[in-house]
Amino acid sequence: MRRLFVPVAIIAAAMFAYAPFLILSAPYESTMGLVQKIFYFHASCGMAMFAAAFASGIGSAMFLFTRKPAADRLAVAGAELTSIIGLLVLVTGPLWARKAWGVWWQWDARLTSTLVMWLIFNSYLLLRRYGGPGSDRLAAAVALFGMANVPFVYWSVNVWRTLHPKTSVIPSLQPGMRGPFWFCVVAFLLLFALLLSLRMELEKRRQQLDQLYLAAED
């Protein structure tokens, strides 16, 4: 991954530089107009948030079974990214909703379950920061609950009556919108992979530092 980091970072930067031009050239949506263009980054952030939640949940499950530090690093990095990218989703969504629905927020299944998932991963991070010894295992269980929430968030729009567009908008995107959308999704997933590896590296260094402090105490 270390050898791939710089080339992937260059590709991701180029994609993010080109994305605004693609989004501007995409057609307007018939009922929402210009504000629908938030969709290209909002939905891509949503996908990256799901990927981060899965990374944290899988890392936590592996940590609970194997107790390997590498699994814990994946869990911590995934949880922090779920919190950061989730914040982007939860802020850009209401900006879109204000114009499209006339309100900033609706307590419907999609929005509420996304907020709950974000709160679960924030509680994971607070638990890791202030939980003291043994909090790593307790936090791992919390991350598993957070990951279990992902399918619920995804399908909520199809099961319950909500104002949020259904999942069917993505497979039914017209060619002019489909290209820019998938371009943004790839850009965000590349950025997610880069940030995840960088954050895991930070956690690895922290674990090394802890070992050094323990050796210094002996």
């Binding site: 018939s30 210009l34 709160l119 069917s168 017209q174 930070l202 090394q208 050094l212 210094a216």
Partner: protein
């Protein structure tokens, strides 16, 4: 300082539902039925309502600007935390052989 920032962030998280609450309506009215969720996006060549009162360009600019600021801020934060830990590792490992 970090502890206060974390506490402030936690309190803000708790206050989110209250902030998002819509103000109570003066008189109860029969609730209009909710419009159904959209199944697909229909493209057109120009925005439909030019006289709209809610400025869409501002909302779009805030959304994209916020994403860029948060992502760059997070990248900077990880880089600075990484360099701090690396400096500390260097200091501690220099101290270790001296003890032995």
């Amino acid at each position: 300082m970090k502890r206060y920032a974390t506490l402030a962030f936690f309190l803000l998280t708790l206050a989110l539902p209250a902030l998002a609450q819509t103000p109570p309506q003066p008189a109860p009215q029969p609730a209009p039925s909710k419009p159904a969720a959209q199944d697909e996006f229909v493209p057109v060549t120009a925005p439909m309502n030019p006289q709209d009162t809610i400025p869409a360009p501002r909302l779009v600019a805030i959304a994209y600007g916020f994403i860029w600021i948060v992502l760059f801020g997070y990248l900077w934060s990880v880089r600075s935390r990484l360099s701090t830990v690396e400096r500390e590792i260097e200091t501690v490992s220099r101290r270790l052989p001296e003890r032995k």
